[in-house]
């Protein structure tokens, strides 16, 4: 088993979780590039405090997690409905917060 190569069996990777984390990393990379190419000043939205695009991404991701949990508790799998609501929520956060 241990032939000197890196053994990552203990991390128990699956395709869905790999896609999940890759998506988040790609979003982070795109946001970083976006901030580097077209820097935006923080703005004050409906929450009445200044937020940067990074803050809005954090609020979107955290909110999406709770929306998916609520969807799971209310309707059960699959989570496509929850994902759709999360995307609408994220768009709203980026537009108004």
């Amino acid at each position: 088993m241990n032939d000197g190569s890196l053994n990552l069996d203990w991390m128990a990777w699956t395709w869905p979780t790999a896609v999940f984390f890759l998506t988040i990393f790609v979003i982070l990379a795109i946001m970083t590039l976006w901030a580097a190419l077209a820097p935006q000043p923080p703005r004050v939205g409906i929450l009445r405090f200044a937020t940067t695009p990074g803050d809005r991404l954090f609020v979107s991701l955290l909110g999406a997690a709770f929306i998916c949990l609520a969807w799971l508790a209310a309707f059960g799998p699959p989570l496509w409905g929850g994902l759709a609501v999360s995307l609408v929520y994220a768009a709203a956060v980026f537009r108004w917060v």
Partner: protein
Amino acid sequence: MDKPVNHRAWFMVMPVVILVAFSAVIPLMTVVNYSIQDTFGNNQFFWAGLEWFEQILSSERFHNALLRQFVFSFIILAIEVPLGILVALSMPKRGWTVSLCLVVMALPLLIPWNVVGTIWQIFGRVDIGLLGAALNELGIGYNYTQNWLDAWITVIVMDVWHWTSLVALLCYAGLVSIPEAHYHAARIDSASRWKVFRYIELPKMNRVLLIAILLRFMDSFMIYTEPFVVTGGGPGNSTTFFSIDLVKMAIGQFDLGPAAAFSLIYFLIILLLSWVFYTVMTNVGVELPRREKES
């Protein structure tokens, strides 16, 4: 405010990012991977999908632990914050008694959690503990191993004993920074003691008080060692708080999948609350001057 912020300095924190990746991000990814699979050890995993999340979200055990955790944190804050302010207000402002007070107040903070637990575990024992034996001699039936209310009171009093000093010391730091001129002005206006507190002392303590509330909330929300040493989560499950329940599930029952789902939900709740506290803390001082400018 129109000037964009240059974020290039963030590259200087790369070493920390790499460290955190190894100590936090990689384990967190592993927990996510575990939460959708089942395992009996030996690195063999079976696909379970969202089953564990559904199971945890609908389990009464999880709901009860969550409720217990919030009730506990709320009681802790409701006692420690006013008490800490009161202690800070009655502490001397100058003279040799200041150092004495500070040292005495700091003592409980220096004691490790498991030692605090052991102290109170013995202190409350009915046969040899000073508190437990004395109460029973007085005719008060106190037994934290059998009565859930006694167990709760013991755990709460223990936490108050351990951590009120922190709130008091933070508030004291805020209080001593108030210039004497403010009190002088209040005396000229013949302001009452309550008004001095409400309009001079409390606004000046605002920031440190928020830090105190944040620290006490987070600490009480992840409390493990002290109740575990004193009551072990009992009697029954009455003092099984969030982290105790999680450890029971993960290590006691070796239900790694459900425990991973549990810890992710726990993590999300903490993340949300930390964000709310952080946002409030960083904006509370900023908003006031802006409103004044508008008016």
